[in-house]
């Protein structure tokens, strides 16, 4: 997926482990939310994070692109140590796509504007080039014909696919997804998961916080169960989801899978 114009990941020693997290702690005031997380993600891996509300899943994800600043520990992305004060975080973030629960599209811009503004302002691509790459990204999510619409005129599912395209247009090395289908009407969940599945098949490195057990089971290479700021259990989906070893994992899955 190296489109022309892609930023070469300026990795000091290209790494096969684009996300490395060592002994990560994060507190908000007195509230300790992450309590010593260790996590390595290999290139091309799809890793799903599951766990109860408040267990720190979003916080962990947001530490990966430094939207939250870790209290201690190390977060190394694409070979850059984000916890190093000298690290150019803005530059590293260009290589990390992030998709949010509430889409966070830019309402004052058209769909095309959404998928080109960062290319233009951050990567300094020319207008025609940004447009071309933007349209390609929209084609990947099946929304090229909506390029001139404003986000407010799209369905939730379409907005979320535009949000994915917005990240893809930056040619990221990896993508972070934080419960991207939780705000959608049930009939719109499938189209977004479909796009994510095709990204996974194309070899994108993905870290996905989700409550969609079907997706985790079918698409993930690895599933991580988090509870109370710690990784309780991790492994292939057949193990963690189908045959969980820990009692807390079992309890959580019983609760979640009741709905099926």
């Amino acid at each position: 997926m190296s489109n022309d114009g892609s930023v070469a990941p300026e990795t000091p020693g290209a790494t096969d482990t684009p996300i490395q997290i060592h002994d990560l702690y994060k507190s908000f005031g007195d509230l300790e939310v992450l309590k010593g997380i260790d996590l390595h993600i290999e290139r091309g891996d799809v890793v799903c994070i599951i766990g109860p509300s408040g267990s720190g899943k979003s916080t962990l994800l947001r530490c990966v692109n430094h939207l939250e600043v870790p209290t201690s520990g190390r977060v190394i992305v694409d070979g850059f140590d984000l916890t190093d004060p000298d690290c150019d975080v803005d530059k590293v973030r260009r290589g990390i796509g992030m998709v949010f629960q509430l889409f966070n599209l830019f309402p004052q811009l058209t769909v095309l504007g959404n998928v080109t503004i960062a290319q233009r302002r951050v990567l300094k691509r020319r207008k025609a080039e940004a447009r071309e790459i933007g349209i390609q990204a929209l084609e990947r999510v099946g929304l090229a014909e909506k390029a001139d619409e404003y986000p407010i005129n799209l369905s939730g599912g379409q907005q979320q696919r535009v949000a994915i395209a917005r990240s893809l247009a930056m040619n990221p090395d990896m993508m972070l997804f934080d419960e991207v289908t939780s705000a959608l009407d049930p009939e719109l969940v499938g189209e977004v998961l479909g796009v994510m599945r095709s990204l996974a098949e194309e070899g994108m490195t993905m870290l996905v916080v989700t409550h969609e057990m079907g997706f985790a089971r079918n698409v993930a290479d690895r599933v991580i169960f988090m509870d109370d700021g710690q990784i309780v259990e991790e492994g292939p989906p057949e193990q963690v989801i189908v045959d969980p070893q820990h009692e807390r994992t079992q309890q959580f899955l019983n609760m979640v899978l009741e709905d099926y």
């Binding site: 692109n65 939207l67 803005d90 949010f100 509430l102 966070n104 830019f106 960062a118 302002r121």
Partner: protein, 285 residues
């Protein structure tokens, strides 16, 4: 009256609660009606008293003298209104520029910026505009021994300072009304804080605050009348000063009325436009 019935007829009261309530309502309405009639009567009496005691002839001559009214034109438009609009323009654009900087400093994560911006806003909002204008117009030249160049500079600068504090607070409120997710989405695309502010957050903030900003514009336009205390020359007279000079010249108050007409001719369309924009914005949401 209703309450008197309560003990005597408790059962009916409970069963026919609605009826009793309606009874209360009617008596309330009746009382309101009586009050309203009283107000009408009092108003008419006052009007009759005023009408009989005031010398209408003299009022008409001193406020609504058609000849003097006509004499105000065209200068009250070509000179006075023009100057008012020039002061308003420079005051507002200056206030917008400074206000934007102050607003961004006010919410900055850098403490020194906040420590500058917060007292700046408090100070200028806490002082009467007239005092600020006097300080800039007289205090600064006395202290520095120099006069600012340009006919409009001092007045515009003073107005810009006054406006900047109010505009800064408007802009800050607008920025804070933009959902946090917008900044986070922009940052996660690799934008710097400054870039995200300029390209994503501030444009949305301005759309939110167009109505209050228009309001500030009208307030500023009216505050240009305070500039007259700076001892302006004939060439820079704005509407209020122009009218005052006219009143002194003609020993007649009609120029004030002419000034009022000219002000309203500018401010009413502005506030109407603001209301329209606000309604549009609300529908769009």
């Amino acid at each position: 009256m209703v309450r008197d019935q309560l003990p005597s007829d408790k059962n009916t009261l409970i069963k026919e609660g609605t009826k009793t309530e309606r009874g209360t309502a009617v008596s309330k309405r009746q009382r309101a009606k009586l009050v309203r009639i009283g107000v009408y009567v009092a108003t008419v009496l006052v009007l009759v008293f005023v009408g009989l005691t005031v010398d209408w002839q003299s009022i008409q001559e001193s406020f609504f003298n058609p000849e003097i009214f006509r004499e105000q034109f065209p200068d009250i438009v070509t000179q006075a209104a023009r100057n008012t609009l020039i002061f308003t323009f420079f005051g507002f654009t200056g206030g917008l520029a400074v206000g934007l900087v102050i607003a961004v400093m006010r919410i900055s994560s850098i403490r020194a910026y906040r420590w500058f911006a917060a007292p700046y806003i408090e100070l200028l909002r806490g002082l009467p505009a007239l005092l600020t204008i006097l300080i800039i117009g007289f205090g600064v030249p006395i202290a520095t021994g120099t006069q600012l160049p340009g006919r409009y500079t001092t007045g515009s600068l003073a107005l810009a300072l006054v406006a900047s504090a109010y505009i800064a607070e408007n802009i800050r409120a607008g920025i804070e009304a933009v959902p946090r997710g917008q900044m986070e989405a922009a940052r996660s695309l690799g934008m710097t804080y400054t870039r995200a502010m300029i390209s994503i957050v501030i444009p949305q903030a301005f759309r939110i605050i167009i109505p209050p900003l228009t309001n500030e514009l009208v307030l500023l336009l009216k505050d240009t009348s305070l500039i007259s205390v700076l001892g302006v020359t004939e060439a820079t007279r704005e509407i209020t000063r122009f009218a005052r000079d006219g009143v002194i010249d003609s020993a007649n108050a009609t120029p004030f009325i002419a000034a009022g007409v000219v002000y309203l001719a500018i401010t009413i369309p502005l506030t109407r436009a603001a209301a329209l924009i606000e309604r549009r914005a609300r529908q769009a949401r």
